[in-house]
Amino acid sequence: MPSAIEVQSLTKHFGNVHAVEDLSFSVETGRVTGFLGPNGSGKTTTLRMLLGLVKITSGTATFGGKRYQELDKPDHHVGAVLEATSFHPTRRAEDHLKMVAIGSGIPLSRVDATLELVGLSDVARRRVGKFSLGMRQRLQLATALLGDPEILILDEPANGLDPQGIQWLRTFIRYQASIGRSVLVSSHLLSEMEETVDDVVIVSEGHLVLQTTLAELAGRAGTSSGMRVRSPEIDRLTAILQTIPVGFRPLSPDIIAIDGATPEWLGPVLAQNQIVVYELVHERGSLEDVFLQLTQGFAAGHPGAPDGGGAVAGQAPPSAGLTPMPGSRA
Protein backbone atom coordinates (compact mmCIF):
# COMPACT_ATOMS: atom_id res chain seq x y z
CA MET A 1 0.00 0.00 0.00
CA PRO A 2 1.43 3.45 -0.86
CA SER A 3 2.41 5.84 1.91
CA ALA A 4 -0.23 8.38 2.90
CA ILE A 5 2.41 11.03 3.55
CA GLU A 6 5.89 11.14 2.11
CA VAL A 7 8.50 13.62 3.31
CA GLN A 8 11.75 13.69 1.34
CA SER A 9 14.89 15.67 2.25
CA LEU A 10 12.68 18.42 3.67
CA THR A 11 14.62 21.52 4.70
CA LYS A 12 13.54 24.88 6.09
CA HIS A 13 15.80 27.77 6.94
CA PHE A 14 14.41 30.93 8.54
CA GLY A 15 17.34 33.23 7.82
CA ASN A 16 20.22 31.72 9.76
CA VAL A 17 17.98 29.41 11.77
CA HIS A 18 17.94 25.87 10.37
CA ALA A 19 14.53 24.77 11.63
CA VAL A 20 14.35 21.54 9.61
CA GLU A 21 17.32 19.89 7.92
CA ASP A 22 17.17 17.12 5.32
CA LEU A 23 14.24 15.37 7.02
CA SER A 24 12.77 12.26 5.41
CA PHE A 25 10.03 9.97 6.73
CA SER A 26 6.75 8.43 5.67
CA VAL A 27 3.35 7.81 7.20
CA GLU A 28 1.76 4.53 6.23
CA THR A 29 -1.87 4.27 5.26
CA GLY A 30 -4.24 3.27 8.05
CA ARG A 31 -1.67 3.67 10.83
CA VAL A 32 -1.16 6.20 13.60
CA THR A 33 2.30 7.72 13.42
CA GLY A 34 3.65 9.68 16.37
CA PHE A 35 5.79 12.62 15.32
CA LEU A 36 7.91 13.08 18.42
CA GLY A 37 10.60 15.42 19.54
CA PRO A 38 11.38 18.03 22.18
CA ASN A 39 9.89 21.51 21.90
CA GLY A 40 11.66 23.47 19.17
CA SER A 41 12.75 20.40 17.22
CA GLY A 42 10.96 21.47 14.03
CA LYS A 43 7.76 19.42 14.32
CA THR A 44 5.32 22.28 13.81
CA THR A 45 7.39 23.76 10.97
CA THR A 46 7.41 20.36 9.25
CA LEU A 47 3.64 19.97 9.58
CA ARG A 48 3.08 23.51 8.31
CA MET A 49 5.31 22.84 5.30
CA LEU A 50 3.26 19.71 4.59
CA LEU A 51 0.13 21.87 4.58
CA GLY A 52 1.55 24.60 2.37
CA LEU A 53 1.48 27.21 5.15
CA VAL A 54 5.26 27.55 5.37
CA LYS A 55 7.36 27.77 2.23
CA ILE A 56 9.74 24.85 1.75
CA THR A 57 13.43 25.78 1.39
CA SER A 58 14.18 22.47 -0.34
CA GLY A 59 12.86 18.92 -0.50
CA THR A 60 9.28 17.69 -0.87
CA ALA A 61 6.31 16.94 1.37
CA THR A 62 3.44 15.21 -0.39
CA PHE A 63 0.17 13.34 0.05
CA GLY A 64 0.03 10.44 -2.38
CA GLY A 65 2.59 12.24 -4.53
CA LYS A 66 0.80 15.60 -4.56
CA ARG A 67 1.58 18.76 -2.64
CA TYR A 68 -1.28 20.08 -0.47
CA GLN A 69 -1.82 23.01 -2.84
CA GLU A 70 -2.15 20.59 -5.76
CA LEU A 71 -4.86 18.48 -4.15
CA ASP A 72 -8.31 18.84 -5.61
CA LYS A 73 -10.51 19.94 -2.65
CA PRO A 74 -7.64 19.57 -0.14
CA ASP A 75 -9.73 19.36 3.02
CA HIS A 76 -11.63 16.40 1.58
CA HIS A 77 -8.29 14.55 1.72
CA VAL A 78 -6.40 16.05 4.63
CA GLY A 79 -7.79 17.36 7.92
CA ALA A 80 -5.48 19.37 10.16
CA VAL A 81 -5.53 20.53 13.76
CA LEU A 82 -2.83 23.11 14.19
CA GLU A 83 -3.37 25.41 17.14
CA ALA A 84 -6.06 26.09 19.67
CA THR A 85 -6.22 29.81 19.09
CA SER A 86 -7.30 30.02 15.49
CA PHE A 87 -10.91 31.02 16.02
CA HIS A 88 -12.61 34.40 15.93
CA PRO A 89 -13.75 34.84 19.55
CA THR A 90 -17.18 36.31 18.77
CA ARG A 91 -18.06 33.66 16.18
CA ARG A 92 -20.33 30.81 17.25
CA ALA A 93 -18.91 27.30 17.03
CA GLU A 94 -21.43 26.23 14.38
CA ASP A 95 -20.79 29.38 12.34
CA HIS A 96 -17.07 28.60 12.35
CA LEU A 97 -17.79 25.14 10.95
CA LYS A 98 -20.36 26.49 8.47
CA MET A 99 -17.79 28.98 7.23
CA VAL A 100 -15.29 26.16 6.58
CA ALA A 101 -17.97 23.93 5.04
CA ILE A 102 -19.19 26.63 2.65
CA GLY A 103 -15.65 27.59 1.66
CA SER A 104 -14.77 23.95 0.94
CA GLY A 105 -18.00 22.92 -0.73
CA ILE A 106 -18.89 20.49 2.06
CA PRO A 107 -22.62 19.83 2.73
CA LEU A 108 -23.85 21.78 5.78
CA SER A 109 -25.28 18.55 7.22
CA ARG A 110 -21.68 17.64 8.12
CA VAL A 111 -21.59 20.53 10.60
CA ASP A 112 -24.06 18.90 13.00
CA ALA A 113 -22.53 15.47 12.40
CA THR A 114 -19.01 16.55 13.36
CA LEU A 115 -20.21 18.60 16.33
CA GLU A 116 -21.97 15.46 17.54
CA LEU A 117 -18.85 13.37 16.94
CA VAL A 118 -16.64 15.57 19.13
CA GLY A 119 -19.35 16.08 21.74
CA LEU A 120 -19.97 19.79 21.20
CA SER A 121 -23.61 19.68 20.03
CA ASP A 122 -24.83 21.31 23.24
CA VAL A 123 -22.59 24.35 22.84
CA ALA A 124 -22.91 24.75 19.07
CA ARG A 125 -24.54 28.18 19.45
CA ARG A 126 -22.00 29.43 21.97
CA ARG A 127 -19.32 31.94 20.99
CA VAL A 128 -15.89 30.34 20.74
CA GLY A 129 -14.36 33.07 22.95
CA LYS A 130 -16.19 31.44 25.87
CA PHE A 131 -14.79 27.97 25.12
CA SER A 132 -12.26 26.22 27.36
CA LEU A 133 -9.01 25.01 25.81
CA GLY A 134 -10.34 21.45 25.69
CA MET A 135 -13.49 22.58 23.88
CA ARG A 136 -11.38 24.52 21.38
CA GLN A 137 -9.33 21.40 20.70
CA ARG A 138 -12.52 19.46 20.07
CA LEU A 139 -13.79 22.18 17.74
CA GLN A 140 -10.47 22.01 15.89
CA LEU A 141 -10.95 18.26 15.50
CA ALA A 142 -14.49 18.84 14.24
CA THR A 143 -13.09 21.32 11.70
CA ALA A 144 -10.51 18.79 10.55
CA LEU A 145 -13.16 16.07 10.16
CA LEU A 146 -15.68 18.19 8.22
CA GLY A 147 -14.47 17.03 4.80
CA ASP A 148 -14.34 13.38 5.92
CA PRO A 149 -10.61 13.24 5.02
CA GLU A 150 -8.57 10.03 4.80
CA ILE A 151 -5.55 11.68 6.43
CA LEU A 152 -5.45 13.56 9.75
CA ILE A 153 -2.60 15.78 10.88
CA LEU A 154 -2.71 16.73 14.54
CA ASP A 155 -0.14 19.14 16.03
CA GLU A 156 0.19 18.63 19.79
CA PRO A 157 -3.54 17.92 20.19
CA ALA A 158 -3.09 16.90 23.82
CA ASN A 159 -1.70 20.29 24.86
CA GLY A 160 -3.80 21.78 27.61
CA LEU A 161 -6.13 18.79 27.88
CA ASP A 162 -6.99 17.35 31.29
CA PRO A 163 -6.48 13.60 31.91
CA GLN A 164 -10.06 12.82 30.82
CA GLY A 165 -9.51 14.89 27.70
CA ILE A 166 -6.32 13.01 26.88
CA GLN A 167 -8.11 9.69 27.38
CA TRP A 168 -10.88 10.88 25.07
CA LEU A 169 -8.30 11.95 22.50
CA ARG A 170 -6.58 8.54 22.58
CA THR A 171 -9.86 6.76 21.98
CA PHE A 172 -10.70 9.24 19.25
CA ILE A 173 -7.39 8.73 17.42
CA ARG A 174 -7.54 4.92 17.70
CA TYR A 175 -11.08 5.03 16.34
CA GLN A 176 -9.93 7.12 13.36
CA ALA A 177 -7.25 4.53 12.56
CA SER A 178 -9.73 1.67 13.02
CA ILE A 179 -11.90 3.10 10.24
CA GLY A 180 -8.91 3.31 7.91
CA ARG A 181 -7.68 6.86 8.37
CA SER A 182 -3.95 7.61 8.48
CA VAL A 183 -3.00 9.85 11.38
CA LEU A 184 0.17 11.86 11.93
CA VAL A 185 0.15 13.22 15.46
CA SER A 186 2.91 15.31 16.99
CA SER A 187 3.86 15.48 20.65
CA HIS A 188 6.83 16.41 22.80
CA LEU A 189 5.88 13.64 25.23
CA LEU A 190 6.11 10.02 24.16
CA SER A 191 4.24 8.97 27.32
CA GLU A 192 1.23 10.92 26.04
CA MET A 193 1.22 8.93 22.83
CA GLU A 194 2.56 5.48 23.69
CA GLU A 195 -0.92 3.98 24.01
CA THR A 196 -2.02 5.58 20.77
CA VAL A 197 0.61 5.28 18.06
CA ASP A 198 1.69 2.37 15.86
CA ASP A 199 4.81 4.00 14.46
CA VAL A 200 7.13 6.71 15.68
CA VAL A 201 9.17 9.34 13.87
CA ILE A 202 11.58 10.91 16.34
CA VAL A 203 13.18 14.26 15.53
CA SER A 204 15.63 16.47 17.33
CA GLU A 205 16.95 19.87 16.28
CA GLY A 206 15.27 19.56 12.90
CA HIS A 207 16.93 16.22 12.06
CA LEU A 208 15.50 12.73 11.93
CA VAL A 209 16.74 10.64 14.85
CA LEU A 210 14.78 7.48 14.21
CA GLN A 211 11.75 6.14 12.36
CA THR A 212 10.52 2.81 13.65
CA THR A 213 7.52 0.99 15.07
CA LEU A 214 6.42 1.49 18.65
CA ALA A 215 6.96 -2.24 19.24
CA GLU A 216 10.61 -1.96 18.25
CA LEU A 217 11.07 1.06 20.49
CA ALA A 218 9.41 -0.80 23.36
CA GLY A 219 11.85 -3.64 22.79
CA ARG A 220 14.71 -1.22 23.33
CA ALA A 221 13.09 0.04 26.49
CA GLY A 222 12.79 -3.50 27.82
CA THR A 223 16.55 -3.93 27.65
CA SER A 224 18.05 -4.18 31.12
CA SER A 225 19.70 -1.04 32.32
CA GLY A 226 21.05 -2.38 35.63
CA MET A 227 20.49 -3.61 39.20
CA ARG A 228 20.28 -1.70 42.46
CA VAL A 229 21.42 -3.50 45.63
CA ARG A 230 20.88 -2.55 49.29
CA SER A 231 23.03 -4.57 51.61
CA PRO A 232 24.74 -4.33 55.04
CA GLU A 233 27.83 -5.78 53.34
CA ILE A 234 28.39 -3.15 50.66
CA ASP A 235 32.16 -3.00 51.28
CA ARG A 236 32.58 -6.75 50.73
CA LEU A 237 30.33 -6.60 47.59
CA THR A 238 32.35 -3.68 46.24
CA ALA A 239 35.57 -5.62 46.70
CA ILE A 240 34.11 -8.58 44.80
CA LEU A 241 32.80 -6.38 41.99
CA GLN A 242 36.22 -4.78 41.58
CA THR A 243 37.56 -8.16 40.50
CA ILE A 244 34.97 -8.37 37.71
CA PRO A 245 34.90 -6.07 34.63
CA VAL A 246 31.61 -4.34 35.50
CA GLY A 247 30.65 -0.70 36.11
CA PHE A 248 29.06 0.24 39.44
CA ARG A 249 28.33 3.37 41.47
CA PRO A 250 27.69 3.82 45.20
CA LEU A 251 24.35 5.63 45.66
CA SER A 252 24.49 5.80 49.49
CA PRO A 253 26.52 4.03 52.24
CA ASP A 254 24.41 0.88 51.89
CA ILE A 255 23.22 1.01 48.23
CA ILE A 256 25.09 0.54 44.96
CA ALA A 257 23.94 0.51 41.33
CA ILE A 258 25.49 -2.03 38.96
CA ASP A 259 25.28 -0.96 35.31
CA GLY A 260 23.95 -3.43 32.79
CA ALA A 261 23.49 -6.21 35.36
CA THR A 262 20.57 -8.64 35.17
CA PRO A 263 19.03 -10.70 38.06
CA GLU A 264 20.21 -13.88 36.31
CA TRP A 265 23.80 -12.68 36.44
CA LEU A 266 23.81 -10.92 39.84
CA GLY A 267 21.84 -13.59 41.78
CA PRO A 268 24.48 -16.33 41.49
CA VAL A 269 27.28 -13.82 42.23
CA LEU A 270 25.59 -12.82 45.50
CA ALA A 271 24.80 -16.44 46.44
CA GLN A 272 28.28 -17.67 45.64
CA ASN A 273 29.78 -15.04 47.95
CA GLN A 274 27.03 -15.40 50.60
CA ILE A 275 26.22 -11.71 50.73
CA VAL A 276 23.20 -10.62 52.77
CA VAL A 277 20.79 -8.53 50.68
CA TYR A 278 17.96 -6.33 52.00
CA GLU A 279 16.73 -5.11 48.65
CA LEU A 280 17.36 -6.07 45.04
CA VAL A 281 15.83 -3.91 42.28
CA HIS A 282 15.94 -4.57 38.56
CA GLU A 283 15.96 -1.13 36.89
CA ARG A 284 14.49 -1.21 33.40
CA GLY A 285 14.42 1.80 31.10
CA SER A 286 10.94 3.16 30.34
CA LEU A 287 9.86 4.11 26.83
CA GLU A 288 10.14 7.74 27.91
CA ASP A 289 13.75 7.12 29.02
CA VAL A 290 14.60 5.71 25.61
CA PHE A 291 12.93 8.70 23.97
CA LEU A 292 14.88 11.14 26.15
CA GLN A 293 18.13 9.30 25.59
CA LEU A 294 17.58 9.30 21.83
CA THR A 295 16.72 12.97 21.56
CA GLN A 296 19.16 14.27 24.18
CA GLY A 297 21.89 11.97 22.92
CA PHE A 298 21.26 13.27 19.43
CA ALA A 299 21.27 16.89 20.55
CA ALA A 300 24.58 16.40 22.38
CA GLY A 301 26.21 14.55 19.50
CA HIS A 302 24.72 16.64 16.72
CA PRO A 303 27.23 18.63 14.63
CA GLY A 304 25.25 21.81 15.23
CA ALA A 305 25.38 21.43 19.01
CA PRO A 306 27.91 23.49 20.98
CA ASP A 307 30.11 20.53 21.84
CA GLY A 308 29.81 19.14 18.28
CA GLY A 309 30.06 15.36 18.36
CA GLY A 310 29.20 14.25 14.85
CA ALA A 311 26.50 11.57 15.09
CA VAL A 312 24.82 10.80 11.79
CA ALA A 313 21.08 11.41 11.41
CA GLY A 314 19.15 8.20 11.61
CA GLN A 315 21.62 6.52 13.90
CA ALA A 316 21.07 6.75 17.60
CA PRO A 317 24.27 7.30 19.53
CA PRO A 318 25.02 4.76 22.24
CA SER A 319 23.68 5.65 25.64
CA ALA A 320 24.20 4.25 29.09
CA GLY A 321 20.81 2.61 29.41
CA LEU A 322 21.27 0.65 26.20
CA THR A 323 24.89 -0.38 26.73
CA PRO A 324 25.24 -4.15 26.93
CA MET A 325 26.80 -5.39 30.07
CA PRO A 326 30.60 -5.54 29.86
CA GLY A 327 31.96 -9.02 29.65
CA SER A 328 28.55 -10.54 28.92
CA ARG A 329 28.64 -12.46 32.15
CA ALA A 330 24.90 -12.86 32.43
Binding site: L51, L71, A80, T90, D95, K98, V100, G103, S104
Partner: protein, 271 residues
Protein backbone atom coordinates in the same frame (compact mmCIF):
# COMPACT_ATOMS: atom_id res chain seq x y z
CA UNK B 1 -15.10 31.73 -6.31
CA UNK B 2 -18.78 31.91 -5.32
CA UNK B 3 -18.24 29.54 -2.38
CA UNK B 4 -15.25 31.61 -1.23
CA UNK B 5 -17.35 34.78 -1.31
CA UNK B 6 -20.20 33.04 0.55
CA UNK B 7 -17.70 31.91 3.18
CA UNK B 8 -16.23 35.42 3.36
CA UNK B 9 -19.70 36.90 3.83
CA UNK B 10 -20.41 34.44 6.65
CA UNK B 11 -17.09 35.41 8.24
CA UNK B 12 -17.89 39.08 7.94
CA UNK B 13 -21.42 38.97 9.26
CA UNK B 14 -20.49 36.81 12.24
CA UNK B 15 -18.19 39.53 13.56
CA UNK B 16 -19.17 42.93 14.92
CA UNK B 17 -17.11 44.83 12.32
CA UNK B 18 -19.67 45.44 9.52
CA UNK B 19 -22.49 46.28 11.91
CA UNK B 20 -20.41 48.71 13.96
CA UNK B 21 -18.96 50.36 10.84
CA UNK B 22 -22.41 50.56 9.22
CA UNK B 23 -23.83 52.17 12.37
CA UNK B 24 -21.00 54.67 12.57
CA UNK B 25 -21.44 55.46 8.88
CA UNK B 26 -25.14 56.28 9.26
CA UNK B 27 -24.51 58.33 12.37
CA UNK B 28 -21.84 60.40 10.66
CA UNK B 29 -24.05 60.89 7.62
CA UNK B 30 -26.88 62.12 9.81
CA UNK B 31 -24.55 64.66 11.40
CA UNK B 32 -23.22 65.78 8.00
CA UNK B 33 -26.76 66.33 6.72
CA UNK B 34 -27.48 68.36 9.82
CA UNK B 35 -24.34 70.44 9.27
CA UNK B 36 -25.29 71.11 5.62
CA UNK B 37 -28.69 72.51 6.63
CA UNK B 38 -27.41 74.41 9.66
CA UNK B 39 -24.78 76.12 7.53
CA UNK B 40 -27.36 77.12 5.00
CA UNK B 41 -29.57 78.42 7.75
CA UNK B 42 -26.81 80.56 9.20
CA UNK B 43 -25.31 82.22 6.12
CA UNK B 44 -27.78 81.70 3.35
CA UNK B 45 -25.11 80.24 1.11
CA UNK B 46 -23.24 77.02 1.59
CA UNK B 47 -20.03 75.75 2.96
CA UNK B 48 -19.22 73.57 0.02
CA UNK B 49 -18.94 76.03 -2.81
CA UNK B 50 -21.77 77.78 -4.49
CA UNK B 51 -22.20 77.18 -8.16
CA UNK B 52 -20.66 73.93 -9.20
CA UNK B 53 -17.64 75.67 -10.67
CA UNK B 54 -15.94 76.58 -7.48
CA UNK B 55 -12.87 78.74 -7.64
CA UNK B 56 -12.88 79.85 -4.05
CA UNK B 57 -15.20 80.49 -1.15
CA UNK B 58 -18.36 81.93 -2.60
CA UNK B 59 -21.39 83.22 -0.82
CA UNK B 60 -24.50 82.97 -2.93
CA UNK B 61 -27.57 84.78 -1.79
CA UNK B 62 -30.73 82.81 -2.24
CA UNK B 63 -32.90 80.29 -0.46
CA UNK B 64 -31.45 79.13 2.87
CA UNK B 65 -31.31 75.51 1.81
CA UNK B 66 -29.27 73.58 -0.80
CA UNK B 67 -30.51 74.59 -4.23
CA UNK B 68 -27.58 74.98 -6.66
CA UNK B 69 -26.44 71.96 -8.66
CA UNK B 70 -23.30 71.50 -6.58
CA UNK B 71 -25.14 72.00 -3.27
CA UNK B 72 -27.71 69.41 -4.25
CA UNK B 73 -25.00 67.01 -5.39
CA UNK B 74 -23.25 67.49 -2.07
CA UNK B 75 -26.48 66.65 -0.28
CA UNK B 76 -27.06 63.50 -2.38
CA UNK B 77 -23.48 62.54 -1.62
CA UNK B 78 -23.45 63.71 2.00
CA UNK B 79 -22.40 60.23 3.07
CA UNK B 80 -19.50 60.25 0.66
CA UNK B 81 -16.94 60.41 3.49
CA UNK B 82 -18.08 56.86 4.27
CA UNK B 83 -15.61 55.66 1.63
CA UNK B 84 -13.04 55.83 4.44
CA UNK B 85 -15.15 53.27 6.33
CA UNK B 86 -15.29 51.09 3.21
CA UNK B 87 -11.50 51.34 3.15
CA UNK B 88 -11.32 50.39 6.82
CA UNK B 89 -13.70 47.47 6.19
CA UNK B 90 -11.35 46.21 3.47
CA UNK B 91 -8.37 46.51 5.80
CA UNK B 92 -10.23 44.62 8.56
CA UNK B 93 -11.37 41.82 6.23
CA UNK B 94 -7.71 40.81 5.91
CA UNK B 95 -6.11 41.88 9.18
CA UNK B 96 -8.78 40.29 11.40
CA UNK B 97 -7.72 36.91 9.99
CA UNK B 98 -4.14 37.54 11.07
CA UNK B 99 -5.09 39.01 14.43
CA UNK B 100 -7.14 35.96 15.43
CA UNK B 101 -4.95 33.50 13.50
CA UNK B 102 -7.95 32.34 11.49
CA UNK B 103 -5.74 32.87 8.45
CA UNK B 104 -4.39 29.34 9.03
CA UNK B 105 -7.87 27.90 8.52
CA UNK B 106 -8.46 30.22 5.56
CA UNK B 107 -5.32 29.05 3.78
CA UNK B 108 -6.10 25.40 4.54
CA UNK B 109 -9.47 25.85 2.82
CA UNK B 110 -8.02 27.87 -0.06
CA UNK B 111 -4.33 27.00 -0.31
CA UNK B 112 -3.81 28.89 -3.57
CA UNK B 113 -3.34 32.26 -1.94
CA UNK B 114 -4.02 34.67 -4.83
CA UNK B 115 -7.45 32.99 -5.11
CA UNK B 116 -8.14 33.79 -1.46
CA UNK B 117 -6.99 37.39 -1.91
CA UNK B 118 -9.27 37.56 -4.97
CA UNK B 119 -12.20 36.37 -2.84
CA UNK B 120 -11.49 39.03 -0.25
CA UNK B 121 -11.21 41.74 -2.92
CA UNK B 122 -14.64 40.78 -4.26
CA UNK B 123 -16.10 40.61 -0.76
CA UNK B 124 -14.74 44.09 0.01
CA UNK B 125 -16.16 45.36 -3.28
CA UNK B 126 -19.61 43.98 -2.45
CA UNK B 127 -19.46 45.31 1.11
CA UNK B 128 -18.26 48.69 -0.21
CA UNK B 129 -21.16 48.88 -2.65
CA UNK B 130 -23.56 47.96 0.16
CA UNK B 131 -22.15 50.67 2.37
CA UNK B 132 -22.47 53.23 -0.48
CA UNK B 133 -26.14 52.30 -0.93
CA UNK B 134 -26.79 52.63 2.80
CA UNK B 135 -25.15 56.06 2.82
CA UNK B 136 -27.05 57.14 -0.27
CA UNK B 137 -30.36 55.94 1.19
CA UNK B 138 -29.66 57.80 4.44
CA UNK B 139 -29.02 61.00 2.44
CA UNK B 140 -32.09 60.62 0.26
CA UNK B 141 -34.36 59.88 3.21
CA UNK B 142 -32.87 62.10 5.93
CA UNK B 143 -31.53 64.86 3.67
CA UNK B 144 -34.46 64.68 1.26
CA UNK B 145 -37.13 64.93 3.96
CA UNK B 146 -35.33 67.84 5.61
CA UNK B 147 -35.04 69.59 2.24
CA UNK B 148 -38.75 69.24 1.60
CA UNK B 149 -39.43 70.33 5.17
CA UNK B 150 -37.61 73.65 4.68
CA UNK B 151 -39.30 74.34 1.36
CA UNK B 152 -36.91 72.75 -1.14
CA UNK B 153 -37.80 70.52 -4.05
CA UNK B 154 -37.29 66.75 -3.81
CA UNK B 155 -37.30 66.35 -7.58
CA UNK B 156 -34.36 68.77 -7.92
CA UNK B 157 -32.49 66.50 -5.49
CA UNK B 158 -33.47 63.40 -7.48
CA UNK B 159 -32.18 65.11 -10.65
CA UNK B 160 -28.65 65.05 -9.22
CA UNK B 161 -28.67 61.33 -8.34
CA UNK B 162 -27.28 60.13 -11.71
CA UNK B 163 -24.32 62.50 -11.41
CA UNK B 164 -23.37 61.33 -7.92
CA UNK B 165 -24.54 57.78 -7.21
CA UNK B 166 -22.57 55.77 -9.82
CA UNK B 167 -19.30 57.51 -8.96
CA UNK B 168 -20.00 57.18 -5.25
CA UNK B 169 -20.68 53.44 -5.50
CA UNK B 170 -17.58 53.05 -7.63
CA UNK B 171 -15.46 54.93 -5.09
CA UNK B 172 -16.78 52.83 -2.19
CA UNK B 173 -16.13 49.61 -4.12
CA UNK B 174 -12.62 50.64 -5.09
CA UNK B 175 -11.71 51.88 -1.62
CA UNK B 176 -12.94 48.60 -0.14
CA UNK B 177 -10.61 46.78 -2.51
CA UNK B 178 -7.79 49.22 -1.79
CA UNK B 179 -8.29 48.36 1.89
CA UNK B 180 -7.82 44.64 1.17
CA UNK B 181 -4.61 45.50 -0.66
CA UNK B 182 -3.34 47.62 2.24
CA UNK B 183 -4.33 44.92 4.77
CA UNK B 184 -2.48 42.27 2.75
CA UNK B 185 0.66 44.41 2.76
CA UNK B 186 0.37 45.42 6.42
CA UNK B 187 -1.12 42.39 8.13
CA UNK B 188 -0.71 43.76 11.65
CA UNK B 189 -4.18 45.13 12.36
CA UNK B 190 -3.18 48.04 14.57
CA UNK B 191 -0.39 49.12 12.22
CA UNK B 192 -2.68 48.85 9.19
CA UNK B 193 -5.42 50.99 10.78
CA UNK B 194 -3.00 53.61 12.12
CA UNK B 195 -1.17 53.93 8.79
CA UNK B 196 -4.40 54.04 6.76
CA UNK B 197 -6.21 56.61 8.91
CA UNK B 198 -2.96 58.53 9.44
CA UNK B 199 -2.57 58.91 5.71
CA UNK B 200 -6.14 59.79 4.84
CA UNK B 201 -6.89 62.05 7.80
CA UNK B 202 -3.54 63.75 8.39
CA UNK B 203 -0.70 63.13 5.92
CA UNK B 204 -2.68 63.56 2.73
CA UNK B 205 -3.98 66.95 3.90
CA UNK B 206 -0.48 68.11 4.79
CA UNK B 207 0.86 66.93 1.43
CA UNK B 208 -1.87 68.74 -0.52
CA UNK B 209 -1.42 71.95 1.46
CA UNK B 210 2.29 71.90 0.67
CA UNK B 211 2.04 70.77 -2.95
CA UNK B 212 -1.29 71.79 -4.46
CA UNK B 213 -0.56 69.86 -7.63
CA UNK B 214 -0.68 66.62 -5.59
CA UNK B 215 -4.39 67.11 -4.90
CA UNK B 216 -5.56 65.39 -8.06
CA UNK B 217 -3.16 62.47 -7.60
CA UNK B 218 -3.90 61.54 -3.99
CA UNK B 219 -6.64 58.91 -3.47
CA UNK B 220 -9.04 61.38 -1.85
CA UNK B 221 -8.75 63.80 -4.79
CA UNK B 222 -9.31 60.96 -7.23
CA UNK B 223 -12.33 59.79 -5.20
CA UNK B 224 -13.91 63.26 -5.14
CA UNK B 225 -13.39 63.63 -8.86
CA UNK B 226 -14.92 60.21 -9.53
CA UNK B 227 -18.10 61.04 -7.63
CA UNK B 228 -18.45 64.71 -8.68
CA UNK B 229 -18.27 65.63 -5.03
CA UNK B 230 -16.74 68.91 -4.08
CA UNK B 231 -15.74 69.09 -0.47
CA UNK B 232 -13.11 71.77 -0.80
CA UNK B 233 -13.28 75.24 0.65
CA UNK B 234 -9.95 76.27 -0.76
CA UNK B 235 -10.39 76.16 -4.48
CA UNK B 236 -8.48 72.92 -4.86
CA UNK B 237 -11.42 71.30 -6.63
CA UNK B 238 -10.41 73.00 -9.86
CA UNK B 239 -7.18 71.01 -9.68
CA UNK B 240 -8.99 67.67 -9.62
CA UNK B 241 -9.26 65.29 -12.53
CA UNK B 242 -12.62 64.81 -14.22
CA UNK B 243 -14.76 61.87 -13.08
CA UNK B 244 -13.41 59.19 -15.40
CA UNK B 245 -9.80 60.15 -14.91
CA UNK B 246 -10.35 60.07 -11.15
CA UNK B 247 -12.03 56.65 -11.44
CA UNK B 248 -9.12 55.25 -13.44
CA UNK B 249 -6.66 56.57 -10.88
CA UNK B 250 -8.48 54.83 -8.01
CA UNK B 251 -8.64 51.62 -10.02
CA UNK B 252 -4.86 51.93 -10.49
CA UNK B 253 -4.31 52.42 -6.75
CA UNK B 254 -6.55 49.44 -5.96
CA UNK B 255 -4.81 47.19 -8.48
CA UNK B 256 -1.37 48.25 -7.29
CA UNK B 257 -2.07 47.42 -3.65
CA UNK B 258 -4.01 44.25 -4.44
CA UNK B 259 -1.14 42.98 -6.59
CA UNK B 260 1.45 43.95 -4.00
CA UNK B 261 -0.60 42.40 -1.18
CA UNK B 262 -1.18 39.21 -3.15
CA UNK B 263 2.54 38.99 -3.92
CA UNK B 264 3.54 39.49 -0.29
CA UNK B 265 0.91 37.10 1.10
CA UNK B 266 1.90 34.37 -1.34
CA UNK B 267 5.47 34.45 -0.06
CA UNK B 268 4.61 34.75 3.58
CA UNK B 269 5.15 31.90 6.06
CA UNK B 270 2.09 31.33 8.22
CA UNK B 271 3.75 30.16 11.42
Amino acid sequence: MIKIIRAEWLKLRTTAVPWVLGGIAMLINGLLILVIFLNHGSNGGGPFGGNGNDNGPTIVLGPNYPHTVQQLRNLVGSGFTGYLLALLLGVLIVTTEFRHKTVTTAFLITPVRPVMVGGKLLMAAIAGAGLAIIMFATSMIGGGLTLVGVGGSYSSLLDQVPAVLPGMVLVFILFGMLGVGIGSVLTNQVAAIVVTLGWFIILEGILVSLVHGAARWVPTGAAQAAANINRSRSGISSLLFNWWEGSLLIVAYGLLFAALGSYILTRRDIT
